[in-house]
């Protein structure tokens, strides 16, 4: 094992981790703003990716636009509008009627939303495997050739994806910490009743936060979709993000990012270093075992709020 190959594995892990973080962020956003663990996050990723893929396919035919860049941009915007509609409908038909209800009730409601989105997405957009081609470069690049012999091989697609994810995360952090709407979101997360009493419009806040989560799902869906193809199994991407959320803490945006990175790196390193001894396939279960360990010893995650109950 050389340093170069170690670094290569590390970089691969970090970049994969960034993508996990992106999906995990969707969970954290909604949890922070409404105290709901949103089971529908995976369905939202699939729905957004389907919309994006199909719009990109339809737009050149309908409008006669030939430039793939423009078509992709329009498709992205169109899918964004779809996610806004989804957020608005969810607020109208579901959340509005569940103000001040138990967390479990809301959780079950999101489970319902998840099945609904899975179904309606495939009804509208079809259920085949579709392609998203946003022109991500597929060829790998070599780095540090003069530092290590042979250099480090880096997947350019992963690198770009990680950069996009990083920018999005930066924007979201600013939104939450620096704006009055961000503050209002955090307030709503803590106490619905009190937030309303000082004039924070609960309904608008929920639409905003589901929209933001929708956009995050769209970006995640776009990136994963262009890697793996848009198909039903994209919903399981959300399952991959579950351990990330447990690790990072449900209430922490930085937690989602660092959790994602740890899991990405952990998966890759364990596969390479432990794989030969215990047999391959560690990558598949590593994250879940790590999450279990965390649940045993630090249930609030790395950065989550520790809940102290006064008795």
């Amino acid at each position: 094992m050389t340093i170069a190959s170690f670094l290569e594995t590390l970089m691969g892990g970090l970049m994969a981790g960034m993508l996990y973080s992106l999906v995990a962020l969707g969970f954290v956003l909604i949890y922070k703003a409404s105290g709901v663990f949103n089971f529908a996050q995976g369905a939202m990723v699939l729905f957004a990716a389907l919309a994006m893929a199909r719009f990109a396919e339809w737009i050149p035919g309908l409008t006669g636009i030939n430039s793939p860049v423009l078509a992709n941009l329009l498709a992205f915007a169109g899918a964004g509008v779809m996610m806004f509609l989804v957020a608005w409908i969810i607020e109208r038909l579901v959340l509005r009627h569940l103000v001040n209800q138990e967390a479990t009730t809301l959780l079950m409601a999101t489970l319902g939303i998840s099945y609904f989105l899975d179904g309606i997405g495939q009804t509208i957009f079809g259920s085949d495997i579709y392609k998203i081609d946003v022109g991500m470069p597929k060829d790998p690049i070599m780095m540090f050739e003069n530092v290590f012999e042979g250099g480090i091989l880096i997947n350019k697609e992963d690198l770009y994806a990680a950069l996009i994810a990083a920018v999005l995360v930066g924007l979201l952090t600013m939104f939450f910490q620096k704006t009055s709407t961000g503050r209002a979101l955090r307030a709503v997360a803590d106490d619905h009743q009190a937030a309303q009493s000082i004039g924070i419009p609960l309904n608008r806040i929920w639409v905003i936060v589901w929209c933001v989560a929708g956009v995050v799902a769209l970006v995640a869906g776009m990136i994963w979709g262009s890697k793996l193809g848009v198909q039903f199994s994209l919903t399981t991407v959300a399952l991959r993000a579950l351990p990330v959320v447990i690790l990072g803490g449900l209430t922490s945006v930085p937690g989602a990012i660092i959790g994602g990175l740890i899991i990405g790196v952990g998966e890759k390193l364990s596969e390479v270093f432990l794989g030969p001894y215990v047999g391959g396939g560690i990558e598949i279960w590593f994250a879940y075992v790590l999450a279990l360990v965390f649940l045993l010893f630090r249930p609030q995650g790395l950065f989550g709020e520790k809940i102290i109950d006064r008795v």
């Binding site: 939104f175 955090r186 997360a189 106490d191 937030a195 309303q196 009493s197 000082i198 419009p201």
Partner: protein, 261 residues
């Protein structure tokens, strides 16, 4: 102490009736609140005091009657709309944003007044920066007023109860409400904390001219700081007047002390 000028009726409650299923919480309650006064609603446990406040605040919608603020009548309002009309409130069982710092909690009270664009805020550009600064200054003023400077960055969940009550008051004050509803501001406090809270309530009333409607259990406190008192018992109004009038009202005495038969 400056003598304050009590103005015209600002909040008018007319014939309010509220029931939950078969339980009548309030029956035909009418009273008014004048500008700049401290108006108390008292009564034994279960008299309907909190229900009354929740009606004014828009949490409950009464089946009958109307409430008007400065002549503007509202019957179906939610809490958010009531807040935009200039009615602020505190809670009997604290409802603070526990994970957030004292400053952030109070800043949320400014939310309705922040006008600048979301993107400008995120980037801290020009007018947005100045606006944030202005609101922050106002909040610092409230923090000084409530004497909680030392805790401004502390997450509210970690503060002792008495201080949390002050933060609750601070958040409502940050709205610059015309009418401030206080739901048992002194509940669960020791004598010293009660005195502090009384002082804050009176200062708010005198310095800012805010009209205060408060619910209180502790008769002593109420009689000392209120201008006029409404007494409720089993959802009905049994007395209304100055503290002295109320104190000598037969019905009130029997409601509180019981009658000898």
């Amino acid at each position: 102490m400056a003598t304050k000028l009590i103005g015209d009726v600002i909040l008018d409650v007319k014939n309010i009736s509220l029931s939950f299923g078969g339980v009548k919480a309030l029956t035909d309650i009418s009273f008014n609140v004048r500008e700049h006064e401290v108006r108390a609603i008292i009564g034994p446990n279960g008299a309907g005091k909190s229900s009354m406040l929740n009606c004014i605040n828009g949490v409950y919608t009464p089946q009958q009657g109307s409430i008007s603020l400065r002549g503007q009548t509202f019957s179906h309002m939610d809490s958010h709309q009531v807040a935009t009309m200039g009615i602020g409130r505190t809670f009997q069982n604290l409802a603070l944003f526990k994970g957030m710092s004292v400053i952030d909690n109070i800043m949320t009270g400014r939310n309705l007044r922040i006008k600048s664009n979301l993107f400008l805020q995120a980037l801290r550009i020009g007018p947005a920066e100045r606006e944030e600064f202005r609101h922050r200054e106002f909040v610092e003023h409230i923090i000084d007023f409530l004497e909680i400077q030392a805790y401004r960055k502390t997450p509210v969940g970690q503060l002792p109860y008495g201080l949390q009550k002050r933060v609750d008051l601070g958040r409502a004050l940050a709205m610059e409400p015309q009418v401030l509803l206080l739901d048992e501001p002194m509940a669960g406090m020791n004598v010293e904390e009660k005195q502090d809270m009384c002082r804050f309530v009176l200062d708010v009333n005198q310095e800012f001219g805010t009209t205060v409607v408060l619910i209180e259990h502790d008769m002593g406190v109420v009689m000392d700081i209120s201008d006029r008192v409404v007494v409720l018992d089993y959802g009905k109004k049994i007395g209304d007047g100055t503290p002295d009038e109320v104190r000598n009202n037969e019905e009130v005495i029997s409601a509180y002390l019981g009658t000898s038969h």
